[in-house]
């Protein structure tokens, strides 16, 4: 037994210490990516990682950017802030990247801001919280692609108001995404004539007993439940609510097939605000995002399976696309690009400026108009309200 184990130890150590071969020093545009692939946000980090890997292949297949191949270096942060900081440093110091995509979560994004700011490398975060880019003055090097929670709250509240509902119960995840939602839900309610009659938060990873929460909601006289969180909490709450007759409204955190799978029959009739990805085929042809969305969806699902493409993949797509566009803008031909690659710091600074200048870019999250005052670049109207009917998302046009 010990003999067998010692062989294993030797094998693992050899694999760990032998340097990676094929570490090409040839000319590439290096872009870093930090995603939580194995930690608590792995359901978000995994599609983010997959989409950038897919895009790397696509771009290089088409001859790279102006004839220079790109290299996307993806590291798994395991959802840890400290790992994220040292990996960001590694990307900047050792790998020599010109821009960073990610991280997946708000906490990690805020933690690396100081690092990218000092190193003067642009970063396009895939996390939702508005504190990442507001105020821009905290760091001019940081951008983000997901829609902010505030926009989603406005969309769903105005829909609820139109239904003639006045008393709502809110259920929010205690983690970052839900807590951001809780704040905006509380602040905005009165603007839409809504009264919050029950206000509860739950721990997404550990709650299995939902009955006491549901009893409270039933007794509060709420006419609807608004739940802010990511899987599996909202799905389990929708399931537990099934049979009480109280309608369930969600957030853009449940914008994936997983929600429908986990909630089962209880998913029917669930209404939530979301970016246009889920209803891409229902958009009018005049919508500038339609073509982008359908293209990404078909490419991604051809590679990773039917129904796998979701808005999180979209956030990373938008981020990498912006970097690509900025690079093309800085160096419109191969000669300039080769020249720029010689001075990485200056190149990174120019990329930052060009990201800030992006205007009218129809991405998956909306039409982005970046500016020195707005490093998110999205405005109201980039989100729609959808309803789940027969396991499909249906756009509820007003």
């Amino acid at each position: 037994m010990k003999h067998w184990l010692s062989l294993l130890l030797v094998a693992v150590l050899v694999a760990a210490v032998v340097p990676v071969v094929g570490c090409s020093e040839s000319e590439t545009i290096k872009i870093g990516a930090l995603f939580d692939v194995t930690g608590p946000n792995s359901p978000l980090g995994t599609p983010e990682k997959q989409v950038v890997e897919m895009m790397e292949t696509q771009i290089n297949h088409a001859g790279g950017i102006n004839g220079v191949p790109i290299e996307v270096i993806v590291y798994d942060t395991e959802g840890k802030e400290d790992s994220c900081v040292s990996l960001a440093t590694r990307l900047i110091e050792q790998d020599g990247v010109v821009a960073i995509i990610g991280p997946s979560s708000t906490g990690e994004s805020l933690a690396v801001i100081d690092t990218v700011d000092k190193a003067q490398i642009p970063m396009v975060s895939c996390a939702a919280d508005e504190r990442i880019t507001i105020p821009v003055g905290d760091s001019i090097w940081v951008f983000k692609t997901p829609q902010t929670t505030y926009m989603a709250v406005q969309e769903i509240y105005s829909y609820i108001q139109d239904q003639g509902i006045t008393k709502i119960a809110i259920m929010t995840d205690t983690k970052g995404f839900g807590a951001g939602g809780k704040k905006d839900l509380e602040d905005e309610a009165s603007n839409y004539g809504l009264t919050i009659v029950s206000n509860q938060s739950y721990d997404n990873e550990e709650t299995t007993n939902w009955d006491p929460f549901i009893s409270k909601i039933e007794n509060s006289g709420a006419e609807a439940v608004v739940c802010w969180g990511t899987n599996p909490g909202p799905a389990l709450i929708a399931k537990a609510l099934d049979g009480t007759g109280i309608p369930f409204f969600g957030s853009h955190g449940i914008a994936n097939t997983k929600f429908i799978e986990v909630a089962g029959d209880a998913a029917e009739g669930v209404i939530f605000p979301v970016g246009k990805m889920l209803v891409a085929d229902q958009l009018p042809d005049s919508d500038p995002q339609k073509a982008v969305l359908l293209q990404l969806k078909s490419d991604y699902e051809a590679l990773y399976g039917e129904g796998t493409c979701n808005t999180f993949a979209g956030h990373a797509y938008d981020a990498l696309k912006m970097v690509q566009m900025a690079v093309e803008e800085v160096a419109p031909d191969k000669e300039t690009l080769t020249e720029e690659l010689k001075d990485r710091k200056a190149f990174a600074a120019k990329i930052r400026t060009e990201i800030e200048n992006i205007e009218g870019f129809a991405g998956t999250g909306g039409v982005f108009n970046m500016s020195p005052d707005d490093h998110c670049g999205l405005s109201k109207g980039c989100m729609v309200v959808v309803k789940i009917v027969n396991g499909e998302w249906v756009w509820l046009q007003d």
Binding site: N199, N209, N231, V262
Partner: protein
């Protein structure tokens, strides 16, 4: 809140607590026999849940068979864990063995995530109708009676008990401590997996689900000082009820978000009360 609702919530708390108790019993059994706090206990819970789902939904077995096989599979993993990782480390101190269980837990979690995906799986159907909580309480009771019979009636159970009371004396009368350790790991894995299997209709099985359920089981076992099975069950049930009641009662500032704080405070109070009474008795005698 109407009395019926109150009773319903109490039952849900007791049932949730029974799951914690099952997981906790796994900690207790391994600890009494080997003095190891098994940090991989939560992974057995996860395996019970994930395997139940896979066997039922992906393989298509009937529910009872899927649950049974899932528990068996997790038991095998427990036994293999002992044979491959704990047994070879013969000269290791207890604390090193604890770290081995931490490593093993990371390994098992990683493998499951890599093979069967890192996203949540749909819950299983309820065992019957809409009374999963009663099923959980019933199954837990059956398991506890079986455990009691095992420890008091069977040769192996008695040997385990002897081993946990005094290992040296047990080996003097011919009980092989190592095969007892093996049995304790398998038994603990089975108990954890049962906990995972019965809760799966109410939650979404997932490669990280063992982290929190394992922690709750740890708390239950710690209330019994890792030695007392009765203490573990009491600890688990109190924890389950406390969690439910904090939400139900919703005292002003103690909103639902403070659920864990209240539950932990209740347990710490129980603990201090019990041990200070123990100390008082010690002083009196």
């Amino acid at each position: 809140m109407s009395p019926e609702q109150f009773v319903d919530n109490l039952i849900s708390g007791v049932a949730q607590g029974s799951v914690y108790a099952l997981v906790g019993l796994g900690f207790t059994i391994i600890y009494t026999v080997t003095r190891i706090i098994n940090f991989a206990q939560g992974e057995f819970v996860m395996l019970g849940g994930v395997f139940s789902f896979l066997l039922f939904s992906s393989v298509g077995l009937p529910l009872p068979l899927a649950l049974l096989l899932a528990v068996l599979a997790a038991t095998v993993v427990g036994a293999v864990l002992y044979l491959l990782a704990i047994r070879p480390a013969r000269q290791a101190s207890v604390i090193s063995l604890i770290i081995i269980t931490i490593g093993a837990s990371t390994f098992i979690r990683g493998v499951v995530g890599q093979i069967w995906g890192k996203d949540y799986m749909p819950p299983l159907p309820h065992f019957s109708g809409d009374n999963q909580w009663l099923w959980i309480i019933g199954i837990t009771l059956v398991v506890m009676v079986a455990l009691h019979l095992f420890f008091s009636r069977t040769m192996m159970g008695k040997a385990l008990k002897a081993c946990s009371i005094n290992r040296q004396a047990a080996s003097l009368v011919g009980i092989d401590a190592r095969s007892m350790a093996f049995t304790s790991f398998a038994l603990a894995a089975a108990l954890g997996a049962i906990g995972g299997a019965v809760i799966t209709p109410l939650t979404a099985p997932h490669f990280r689900m063992g982290l929190t359920l394992g922690l709750k089981g740890f708390v239950a076992a710690a209330v019994g000082d890792f030695r007392s099975q009765v203490g573990t069950v009491v600890g688990g049930v109190i924890l389950g009820i406390a969690e439910a009641m904090v939400v139900v009662l919703d005292w002003g500032p103690f909103a639902s978000a403070y659920k864990d704080v209240i539950a932990m405070l209740v347990l710490l109070l129980v603990l201090f009360f019990r041990s200070s009474r123990g100390a008082a008795q010690e002083a009196a005698s």
